[in-house]
Structure formats: C-alpha cells, structure tokens
C-alpha cells in the first residue's frame, strides 16, 4: 500500500492577543491509498486546522505534512476539499459550477470532454433537472451534492471533507452517505472526513482517528472491521454497536475534558 498523506510529528499553534494557542500537538499518522479516514473529536479541538494543513491553507509550526512524499506547499487540484459551508459559486449555474475546475489551466478539458464530465456528475448526483439553475434555487442537500460533484470533476486522488453532512436533516444525511459510498465504489478515492457523528464515522470509514480536546492529539486510531461495499445493514450488526459505544465513550471523555478546561477557575470547588 502506498502512502498518500503523512502527518509527521505535526504541531500547530496560533499567536493570539492572549498568547500562544496550541491547536494541534504532536500528531502522527499515515493515510494510505484507498483509505477512508474519519476524524472525530470535540468541537473546537482543532480538526479543521488539522485538515487545512493537508489542504494547504495552513503550515505546521513544527513537524511535516507530506502528500505523495512531498511537503504540502499550498492548495492544489489533486486534493479536493469539500467545505462545511458548501462554497458553491452563486453566480454560476449548477453546470457551470461543476465545469469550473475544468475551465482552469491546471486541468483544462476540451468542451466536449467537459460536457461529458458535467453530464456524468449531474446524473450521478441527481442534479440533471437543475443543470441550468442557479444555486439559489437549490436545497441544502443539493448544494452539498453540487459541491461534491464540482470537487470530483477535476478528478482529485484525495478528498478532504469537513463535516460535509453536518447541516443536513437525518434523511438527506443518510442518502448522502449512501451516495458517497456508491461513488467511492466506482471511482475509488482516498478520503479524509471530519465528522461529529460516531455512526457516520463507523458506517463510512475504514479507519477512525479519535482526537483529544484542544490541543488536538491522537487519542486512538481504530480500524473498522467492515469490508466495502457496505450497506445500511451493517448498522444492525453487534460489532457496529460495540464499536459505537467504545468510540462514544472516548469522545465523551474528551468532551468532558474540554468542558473542564473551559470552566472558569473560580467555579471549580
């Protein structure tokens, strides 16, 4: 198995008016080709920061973040990012959004090829009827699918997804999870997904990285024993329930640790 991405003793701290804020501390793990990594941890612990180092928006203070063996120097089309806020371009139609990356020098495609790629993802994401609509006419779930289609169109080897389904209702969320599994099956990509949902992490990921309250350190890395292709029936399996209660416990501990951190000193005792 080839190593796609590596966090090597990575730490990151921000200089704030109140002093140094350690956000990520001594994080090391590898993401292999074909892995589906889910990162889970309490809110505000540094998950987005960790991912944005791999996306290329932030540099580690110490340690190295490598992609394909080289230090990440900035964002690039081989690492597709799906932002929590969707980020679909409101001034472009659905189809133009998907085509956006293909009109750039970095991954230019001829018109015919571009059309074919757009049509493929319009169809796959169930957006064909809205090809010429503007995003203002789309629901939240459709915007999310559009963001995914747009990221996929430039054929990244690696997908970074920051709580992509967090804002969706339960039904849409579960549809989106199944769609993601289906797409991965046919397109085979490496994924790093941030989530708050333990079920989502187990259902989708091949490996789960549980991180601690801020500063984010690795608490435990868990291999998920289910093989792909997966369907919803695995959620009924006893292993699923066991894993769930184990991870919940870990996350709960960290959540409490975080609450304790935040509590003002005068209130303790």
């Amino acid at each position: 198995m080839t190593k796609r991405a590596q966090f090597d003793k990575v730490s990151l701290s921000f200089e704030t008016p109140k002093g140094r804020l350690n956000v990520v501390e001594d994080v090391s793990y590898d993401i292999n080709d074909g892995d589906f990594i889910a990162v889970i941890g309490p809110s505000g612990c540094g998950k987005t920061t960790m991912m944005s180092m791999l996306a290329g928006f932030q540099k580690p203070t110490t340690g190295k973040v490598l992609f394909d063996g080289r230090p990440v120097a900035g964002p690039g089309p081989e690492r597709g990012v799906i932002f929590q806020e969707y980020g679909v371009f409101p001034w472009l139609t659905v189809k133009q959004n998907i085509a956006f990356g293909l009109t750039l020098k970095a991954n230019h495609a001829a018109t015919a090829e571009r059309d074919a790629i757009c049509d493929h993802y319009l169809d796959l994401m169930g957006l064909s009827d809205f090809a010429n609509s503007y995003p203002k006419h789309l629901s939240g779930g459709m915007r999310q699918r559009l963001a995914i289609a747009r990221a996929y169109a430039v054929k990244p080897q690696f997908l970074l997804m920051d709580e992509p389904f967090g804002a969706l209702d339960a039904q849409t969320r579960s549809n989106m999870q199944n769609l993601l599994l289906k797409v991965l099956e046919t397109e085979g990509k490496t994924v790093m997904l941030i989530t708050h949902s333990v079920e989502e992490a187990i259902y989708l990921a091949s490996r789960i990285v549980v991180v601690t309250a801020r500063p984010a350190r690795i608490k435990e890395i868990i291999d998920v024993p289910f093989t792909y292709p997966r369907d919803e029936s695995i959620q009924e399996r006893p292993e699923f329930a066991e894993l769930r209660s184990h991870i919940r416990q870990l996350v709960m501990d960290e959540y409490r640790a975080q609450q304790a951190q935040m509590r003002p000193v005068s209130f303790s005792e």
């Binding site: 928006f57 964002p75 690039g76 001034w91 503007y134 995003p135």
Partner: protein
C-alpha cells in the same frame, strides 16, 4: 404588457396622482398665498412652452451630460480605489478617516475653491460632480468588497485556480454587484449635487435654469426644473435597476 404589469403600473401611478391632488388641495386651501404656488396645469403648460420655445431639451442634455461624465469618471476611479481599500485591510485603516473626512464635506462648500483652482468653465462643474460621485462610490465599493468571504477563493484554489484565474473568475463576479450599487448611489448623489455645480456661472443646464428663474421669481420655471431633475434621475435609476436585475440574476433577492 400583461395583467400583472398593468397592475404594477397602476400601483406605481397612485402616489403621483395623490401628490398632484395634494398640490391642488394646498393651493386651494387658502393657507398659502396662491401666487406662491403655481398649479400643476400651469407648470405643465410652462413645461411645453420651455420645451418648444426655450430649448429645454438643451438644458436637459447639458445637465445629463455633466452628471454622466461626472459619475463615469468618479466611478472609474472609485472602483479600483474602493477595491484596494476593501481588499487590503491595512490600507483601509489607513485611508478610512481621510475618506470619511472628505465625504462629509458638502460639495457646495467647495465651490469657492473649485472656482479658484478650476475656473468657471465646464471643468469646474465636472470636478464637483466627480468629487461627489467618487466619495459616495468609493465607500460603497470598499464596504462591499471587504465583506467578500475568502471561502470562494479557497474553493477556487483547491480546484487548481492560479492568481489570475481567481481574479478573473471569482473576484470580478463578486465585485460586479458592488460596482452596480456604487453606480446607483453615485448617480443619486450626482443629481443632488447638480444644481450646486451649475451655480458656477453655467449658461445652460437644469440647475442654471432654476438658478436664473429664482432671480426673476419665475416659480413655474423652478417647478419645471425640479420636476425634470427628479424625473431624469428616476429614469436613469430605473434603467440601471433593469441592467442590475439582468446581470445579477443569480442573486438571492426577493423580486416583486
């Protein structure tokens, strides 16, 4: 025109009819000296007289051209300046007080200085209108541009866009709405400043017409001038709104 269009037109006309009725009512109420308020029909008659005999169209053209040029030049400069101020936060902290200082100065207060430096010709009027449009436009621009979220730029970067592509394909489309708003605001301010600019020894122009009429106490001419300014400003704004609606069809706005 369809039924809905007719209805909207009707709704839009009601306040005007109301205003004219109110005008007559004030005149006939006896509270005000009748010779101080020409009746709407007298003003209308004066309008046709000026139009046919006195070359009202020349005045309208002179004024419209001044406003047009002043706004065009003002916005041409305000767009890049406002953009830079909005984009680079440090530039903004540095230029903000200055811009607000100059914006607070009413253009009319500058007239004596403008006469000293630019004389009394067309250029002087243009300077006043430029001043008014630039400062109103620049503020709209930088307020707007500074609110552009970095999210779209990041998205474009992750899709492989280089600096030039980000500028052309992301920043420009996000800036267009602010340019259009700046244009509208500047047009409004420029029409409001027109009379002041034409105080400077203007031969023709609606402001000059009003100015001259006031020396001879020709109230009906003053009314014609004021109404013309209002109407032309309204028409320009309508046209600009149509263009805006066409260009910004993607925006999430409640359209009536």
């Amino acid at each position: 025109m369809n039924g809905a269009g007719l209805r909207r037109l009707g709704l839009g006309l009601i306040p005007w009819i109301g205003a004219i009725l109110l005008w007559y009512a004030v005149r006939w109420s006896g509270f005000v000296n009748v010779s101080l308020i020409p009746a709407p029909h007298q003003v209308a008659a004066k309008f046709f007289e000026l139009l046919t005999k006195e070359g009202l169209l020349i005045d309208i053209f002179a004024s419209t051209r001044r406003v047009f040029l002043g706004v065009a030049l003002g916005i041409l400069v305000a767009v890049p300046v406002g953009f830079l101020l909005g984009w680079y936060r440090p530039a903004r902290t540095f230029a903000d007080p200055m811009i607000n200082f100059f914006r607070a100065l009413p253009p009319i207060a500058l007239i004596p200085l403008v006469i000293v430096y630019f004389g009394v010709d067309e250029l002087a009027k243009l300077v006043i209108l430029f001043y008014a449009s630039f400062f109103s436009g620049v503020i709209v621009m930088y307020e707007g541009v500074s609110q552009i979220t970095p999210l779209y730029i990041r998205v474009a970067q992750t899709l492989g866009a280089n600096q030039a592509e980000i500028f052309r394909k992301v920043i420009i489309p996000l800036t267009v709405p602010h340019i259009l708003t700046a244009l509208r605001v500047a047009l409004g301010v420029a029409w409001a400043t027109l009379v002041a600019s034409e105080l400077i020894a203007a031969q023709r122009g609606l402001g000059a017409m009003i100015q001259n009429a006031s020396t001879y106490f020709l109230l009906d001419v003053i009314y014609v001038g004021i109404i013309c300014i209002g109407l032309i400003a309204l028409i320009m704004d309508l046209i600009l709104r149509k263009i805006t609606a066409r260009l910004l069809i993607w925006q999430d706005r409640a359209i009536a």
